[in-house]
């Protein structure tokens, strides 16, 4: 790393000692032309969020000097957000896990020193294999659990080969929206052509505030192209700066507004008749649909949402008479916030179908991609053992949930429904404060005999792990990344190691294959009996996808773009082959085929008079970047935002400390008094509150919103009709008091 001091020395300050300082000074201030870094840059892809923006990296003396955007990339168009820009600091974080380690103190918890001892990779892998094998033999597949994403595919193969269950976070993310989009338009897609839209309704959508460039650029270009944008959000976010109107909707009642907009579109026949008649099941169910939305008048919606009825009438008419019009949706936008998330996702889907924008310019479309063959396609595995049907998160009890995990119910499964069942955990890529009621989850982890943690940093989960394995991060790995967010024509970019992995950090492929060799060797062999390898997989993927002869050649190219004309789809992969406004499969299971109004679950009470609103600050990726000193300086702690009236009521002053209390916990943070929030809301950022003392920048700073947000009970979810499994990450009400 070149410091400023080195730079000064190079540019002339070194001459200071040689002559009179005035001369040296003149030298220093003369524009110099030294080559401080080679003009060549290396193409790779960011790995902070799944925008995976193309990067051009300047490498100097074996370290990363600068990261900037890849101009050809349709996602980020040559730019990077703060997280990507500063990501070399994750790579060079002095707190990184360096060697495999084992715990010597059997007592787990934040109050215990685990007594970490360095061990060799061989000892670590052998121990894990031995312990996992013993658990499988003695207690069966149900006793072993992977807390992990479905990618990288290497880990997925390991879990499948062992026949163990995997739990991911998608009840807190877009799980509900996956199910809904599959039923409504045949497949889930993240692609929204806002660039060409003329009228945009944003319900909670905040990609500017989150600085997710693949989507933020879409709204930016929409504004450059003269679109009119209306925003509903209890909180003023930077997205509102790109909007013509902002309505601070009452939390959880965006649904009322959406239903009323649909009411107006139907009442005044302001929908795209040609599209709706040809490509949707509207004609078949017209009577039911019209009758269903009849009661949802804008006047009714005003009472639920605080958005004036007149405004809803006007906005609905504008939405219905401007083409293309669109209402984008993305993940936490509204797919997991409240118990009425399924209804909200369906209402948004209906708005887009009525606007006739499905797979049309300016609308919600299916990405045109180059298909990269999967690991299983290239190395077909023997038949996998059947995974246990009684899941620890209880997902199978929800009749309409998709194949995603549930962080909001896993602690209940581990401690109440199946206490003691989970004996071993393989944990990778997640943070403890991602779990609603994260303290409850910490308690649940204490009941586990043997836990393995694979990570790049010494995260909170380490206080509950028995063995930790240091992982490589995205600037040290190789991959092939296909665009899915802004993908009207295919674009594929390379990810390649910029510098070597530090110390003994190893890739996911290495870890999975080495454990696979020990635990399920048949699944990690090629047809000829030799072990499968990650480099051969990449070569084969590149060859079969037509990106080049092998990965090395694709690496040299950096990216492949294929221009192709956009031909809108005329059939959709639903049961009926049409876009479904009315979902007959839901009706068959006794679930509402059309979205009905239901209020959010947690409403203010005398004891807890405020809605808790959480948001994702743009300078951080959820809870994974707080230890980055650059990002920490931009946003370093949990600032609680409240309205001046609210502050005055409790005698809280701007910059003071406030205690926020919900029915499950309490936390203290600094206050920002601001006019940008509703007086009935308390707003906190997500991502802070790391408790690991090994994280020297982030550890002990701020609190996690999940110390306040309750976990869920699976039977309760079933009874209340939360059948798609919304994680309810904003179903908390709180009270506040001054804390100094």
């Amino acid at each position: 790393m070149i410091t400023r001091r080195d730079l000064l020395q190079r540019t002339g300050a070194a001459a200071l000692a040689l002559g009179p300082w005035e001369t040296a000074f003149a030298e220093y201030f003369k524009p110099a032309k030294p080559a401080l870094y080679p003009p060549e840059t290396v193409i790779t892809a960011c790995g902070i969020c799944d925008s995976a923006c193309g990067m051009r990296a300047t490498i100097q003396d074996g370290t990363i000097r600068f990261l900037q955007g890849l101009p050809e990339d349709p996602h980020n168009e040559g730019r990077l957000c703060a997280k990507g820009t500063a990501s070399a600091w994750i790579k060079n974080d002095p707190d990184r896990l360096k060697y495999p380690m084992k715990r010597t103190n059997p007592n787990k918890g934040f109050d215990q020193d685990p007594g970490w001892v360095r061990i060799s990779w061989t000892e670590a892998l052998d121990t894990i294999a031995e312990r996992f094998r013993a658990i499988l033999d003695k207690h069966g597949q149900e006793a072993l659990l992977a807390i992990s994403r479905g990618s990288p595919p290497w880990f997925a193969r390991l879990y499948s080969a062992l026949g163990i269950q995997r739990v991911d976070h998608n009840d807190l993310c877009y799980g509900v929206d996956i199910v809904m989009q599959q039923r409504m338009i045949g497949a889930h897609t993240f692609a929204w052509d806002l660039d060409n839209a003329k009228y945009i309704l944003l319900f909670g959508w905040d990609m500017m505030g989150r600085a997710k460039l693949c989507l933020a650029n879409r709204l930016l270009h929409a504004k450059e192209n003269g679109a009119r944008v209306v925003n509903f959000n209890p909180l003023w976010t930077p997205t509102a700066r790109f909007c013509d109107e902002w309505y601070p909707v009452r939390p959880g009642s965006d649904l009322a507004v959406a239903l009323a907009v649909i009411h107006v579109l139907l009442k005044e026949n302001l929908y795209d008749k040609e599209f709706v008649e040809k490509f949707t099941n509207f004609p078949e169910y017209e009577a039911q649909i019209r009758a269903h939305f009849e009661p949802y008048t804008p006047e009714w919606a005003e009472k639920e949402s605080d958005v004036p009825a007149q405004a809803i009438w006007r906005i609905a008419r504008e939405f219905g008479s401007t083409k293309p019009a669109v209402a984008p949706m993305h993940k936490k936008t509204l797919a997991a916030n409240y118990e009425n998330a399924p209804q909200m996702c369906q209402a948004i889907g209906i708005l887009n179908i009525l606007a006739g924008n499905i797979d049309r310019p300016g609308g919600h479309y299916f990405p045109r991609t180059i298909s990269i063959p999967s690991l299983d396609a290239i190395y077909p595995p023997p038949a996998y053992p059947k995974a246990p049907t009684r899941r620890i998160d209880g997902r199978e009890k929800l009749p309409l949930a998709g194949s995603y995990g549930m962080f909001s119910t896993i602690a209940e499964g581990m401690t109440k429904i199946y206490p003691g069942r989970i004996k071993g955990i393989f944990w990778t890529g997640y943070h403890l404060n991602s779990f609603p009621d994260c303290n409850g989850m910490a308690e649940a982890l204490k009941t586990v005999e043997f836990m393995v943690l694979v990570d790049i940093l010494p995260v909170d989960a380490m206080y509950f792990a028995d063995i930790v394995l240091p992982n490589t991060m995205f600037l040290e790995g190789s991959d092939i990344i296909s665009r899915t967010y802004n993908a009207k024509s295919p674009f594929v970019v390379v990810r390649q190691p910029l510098t070597g992995a530090p110390f003994e950090a190893k890739s996911a492929a290495f870890i999975a294959i080495e454990l696979g060799k020990r635990l399920a060797p048949d699944y990690f062999k090629k047809a000829d009996g030799s072990w499968i390898s990650s480099s051969e997989l990449l070569d084969e993927q590149v060859r079969r996808a037509g990106l080049g002869e092998n990965f090395a050649e694709f690496r040299r190219k950096g990216f492949v773009a294929r221009e192709q004309p956009f031909t809108p789809r005329t059939t959709f992969a639903t049961a009926s082959g049409k876009c479904q406004i009315y979902i007959p499969e839901f009706a068959a299971k006794g679930y509402g085929p059309l979205p009905s109004w239901r209020p959010k679950q947690a409403l203010p009470t005398q004891e807890y008079p405020y809605y808790l609103i959480t948001y994702l600050p743009g300078e951080h990726k959820r809870n994974s970047t707080q230890n980055n000193p650059i990002l920490n300086e931009i946003g370093g702690t949990s600032v609680v935002q409240i309205h001046p009236q609210t502050a005055a009521r409790h005698g809280i002053r701007d910059g003071g400390l406030v205690r926020v209390r919900s029915r499950i916990g309490q936390a203290v943070g600094p206050v920002r008094v601001t006019e940008t929030v509703r007086p009935d809301c308390v707003v906190v950022p997500h991502g802070f509150g790391h408790r690991s003392g090994y994280l020297r920048v982030a550890g002990g700073k701020g609190f996690s919103d999940n110390e306040l947000i309750p976990a869920q009970s699976i039977d309760e979810m079933y009874k209340r009709g939360n059948w798609l499994g919304s994680g309810c990450i904003m179903e908390a009400v709180v009270t506040i008091e001054p804390a100094g």
């Binding site: 070149i2 410091t3 400023r4 730079l7 000064l8 300050a13 200071l16 000074f25 220093y28 201030f29 003369k30 524009p31 032309k33 030294p34 401080l36 003009p39 600068f66 990261l67 900037q68 955007g69 980020n76 730019r79 990077l80 957000c81 703060a82 997280k83 500063a86 600091w89 600085a211 460039l213 933020a216 650029n217 930016l220 504004k223 003269g226 009119r228 944008v229 003023w236 930077p238 509102a240 700066r241 013509d244 902002w246 309505y247 601070p248 743009g618 300078e619 650059i630 990002l631 920490n632 300086e633 931009i634 946003g635 309205h643 601001t674 006019e675 940008t676 929030v677 007086p679 920048v697």
Partner: protein, 181 residues
């Protein structure tokens, strides 16, 4: 000789902090000591729900008549031929005068080392035909950099409640036109 300046369009700023991150990454500015050569300031006006929030990414504006330079008792601050105002930390005695006299808070004192430092406009990048790091990565084009003669007439010299220090002639202009729709 040509000089340079900033053009800032606040309606395009999403407060992501990429400018500050790029600044620190390129220049190796020490972190954790509250020295932030470039940062995004947020100014609220109006009252709920008719609120407006102005975001300004600010750094050194390399004033033609830089008060910091005049205030420095040891002449540690000088101007390059192309107008870039540079502070030589090795000369700095840590008196903090430069900070006191700058309306933008551009020179900043590191209390641990008792040295001031400030934005160099990435002079080393400019010398190689590159843009400053902050403007290179700004995702929305809110922050732009260029030749002053091309910027000076492209925006207003004042914005919001931000007082324009006339006599200092800072090299920054603000785009004040709203979105067209």
């Amino acid at each position: 000789m040509t000089s340079y300046g900033w053009l800032f369009d606040p309606k395009r700023c999403m407060e992501c902090g990429a400018c500050e991150a790029a600044c620190k990454q390129w220049n190796g500015v020490e972190t954790g000591v509250n020295v932030r050569w470039r940062r995004v300031l947020r100014m609220e006006s109006g009252s709920f729900p008719q609120v407006s929030v102005l975001a300004l990414s600010l750094s050194c504006n390399h004033c033609e008549n830089a008060f910091c330079m005049k205030a420095c008792p040891v002449k540690a601050i000088r101007r390059r031929e192309d107008g870039i105002v540079l502070l030589d930390e090795s000369r700095c005695v840590g008196c903090g005068q430069c900070y006191m006299f700058c309306p933008y808070g551009a020179p900043q004192l590191n209390l641990a080392t008792r040295k001031s430092s400030k934005c160099t406009m990435c002079a080393d990048r400019i010398d190689q035909g590159l843009q400053p790091a902050c403007a290179t990565n700004c995702p929305t084009g809110a922050l732009q950099w260029g030749r002053w003669e091309e910027i000076v007439n492209r925006g207003s010299d004042r914005i919001g409640r931000f007082v324009y220090p006339m006599q200092m002639k800072p090299h920054i202009r603000f785009v004040t036109e709203p979105w067209q729709s």
